[in-house]
Symmetry: C2
Subunit: 327 residues, 2 copies
């Protein structure tokens, strides 16, 4: 059934039917109700695609995430997506998943050039981000989840730097001085901000972090194991992991090596996850409300698409959950 069928059945014009549905333009109450009743009874729903063509809109937003299994599988992206969906659905937007890698954004490019999305949300940001660069060129509305050192990009992030500084400072107040840090890829901007926060805390205490205690680009598996071994050998009092995935990895390794937490060594994570809470002992970590992050990112994008003025930069909070792993 098309809008034409409805118009014909009711003896009105397509224009009128369109107005009744969209609520735009002047239309008599009686006429509107007649149309609305009819389409409800015959449960007619307009074709989003035809509507899209007429309005040059798609009612889709692109959700860009890393396409490698280790990253895509992070709870972070799932939870973020749920927040986005929660915001997008009532606005009648759907979500197109676009998987990219650090050096291949063809999937994103195709969706954009084929006019399949009205806007894009970037799930994370990189140091030299092809996606950011590309989207900036197209002029398509997009918001980056993460921090980008470019005033032109609309971005939203949790305040990772302050959060890390605060957690590390807290650990220091417990008397911890030698603190290992295991972090992810240096090409991710968040890695940089977390590292800065860690250093900020040392600076605030008038101390200098030891470079030998810092392990970055620590991929899951072998490299994390090596980092843990090294830190164990250096007899650090605590290991701080940049995210939950690294932390789970480190916990497994510590367990295999027979290190007892928190007696032999303490552990903390700069990102939360249900798993870390359920671990035994539960792991001290920074907590971020990822669903809200997604929701807000989406809200901003919707406004952006609608041509409203949006804040270039939004910074969301955090809190710290002290658990037994740092007792």
């Amino acid at each position: 059934m098309t809008i034409g069928d409805v118009a014909e059945a009711l003896g009105v014009s397509k224009t009128t039917v369109s107005r009744a549905i969209s609520g735009k333009g002047r239309i008599g109450n009686a006429t509107r109700d007649k149309v609305l009743d009819f389409i409800n009874q015959h449960n007619y729903t307009p074709s989003a695609i035809a509507k899209g063509l007429a309005q040059s809109k798609t009612y889709n937003i692109g959700w860009v995430i890393p396409g490698d299994y280790n990253s895509a599988n992070l709870p972070f992206f799932q939870k973020c997506l749920m927040g986005i969906a929660e915001m997008a659905s009532p606005m009648h937007y759907d979500i197109l998943v676009l998987m990219v890698s650090e050096n291949d954004i063809s999937h994103l490019e195709r969706a954009v050039t084929n006019h399949k999305v009205d806007g894009v949300i970037l799930g994370r940001t990189l140091k030299n981000d092809l996606a950011v660069e590309y989207l900036l060129n197209t002029g398509l509305p997009f918001v980056a989840i993460g921090t980008v050192d470019d005033g032109r990009v609309v971005q939203i992030d949790n305040d990772h730097r302050s959060a890390c500084r605060e957690l590390v400072s807290l650990l220091m107040m417990k008397g911890i001085r030698s603190m290992g840090l295991i972090g992810g890829s240096c090409s991710h901007t968040v890695t940089e901000y977390r590292l800065s926060g860690y250093k900020d805390a040392f600076a605030a205490a008038g101390l200098e972090p030891e470079e030998e205690n810092i392990f970055l680009d620590a991929e899951p598996g072998f490299r994390i194991d090596k980092a843990v071994e090294a830190l164990l050998a250096r007899k650090v009092q605590c290991i701080v992991c940049m995210d939950d995935s690294i932390c789970v990895n480190a916990l497994n390794k510590l367990r295999r090596d027979g290190a007892m937490i928190p007696d032999d060594i303490k552990v903390a994570s700069l990102f939360n996850s249900p798993q870390l809470e359920a671990a035994s002992p539960a792991v001290t970590s920074l907590n971020f409300d990822t669903a809200t992050l997604g929701r807000e990112a989406c809200r901003i994008l919707m406004n952006y698409i609608d041509g409203k003025e949006v804040n270039k930069r939004t910074l969301l909070g955090y809190d710290i959950a002290i658990k037994d792993s740092t007792k």
Copy 2:
């Protein structure tokens, strides 16, 4: 730039440009090359949405997953999605994520009635599945990942029943007789098949499983903890968990209770995940190739959409990884 601009610039008709791009219809080689060269140089890309309207197609497929965080976050869905994307991309299809719950499929309904998808892949199947019922009524092509007791639905699944039977039989050959089983929601069809496999193994050994050792509908957290406690009290030799999420939960609980694996009690999982492999000790589990499952589901859907004949039922294999947790 539109197809009209290209036509004008080249002094040919829109028809000709369309044919050069689509490869359909007769067209001279010289003309085709001229058009193709031009659009490459000016990197013109046709609007998928206009194309869609003309062809009554969207080049989108719907990917239906549970919308609650615990389920959506399962590595299974992520990996499946990666397989789907791998197959869909080269066919120029994009993926629309549709989150539903057991009693609310409105998101799916909207995408379908608004004509935003050409077909749908169901990420899992339930006992009385609203989505299956709904899609059957619409007549839209869809394939269910999972097992549905309805000859009309195109479905694909791993052979969970045989796999479970084989793993349990293997454990029995190691002399294990008292075997706990902790499983997920009874509304999921896979729970039923796994249970059947477990019972098959007992039957094959001429034994009867003890009902007191079977805990179903064990949600993460409290209920799994309770099940583990009960099984510990019953002094079973082994706990079999229906999936990786349950297993991680159970491992945490066992650890908290000071039970040593495999000496005090053995543990096995009916679904694999990297975490279970990295655990210490590594956990014996059934291994399924989830990416292939997604890829094949997508391949079938593409054929279905194209009007080709497709198998109603596809059954994929599995293998068994014996690790230290059952030594």
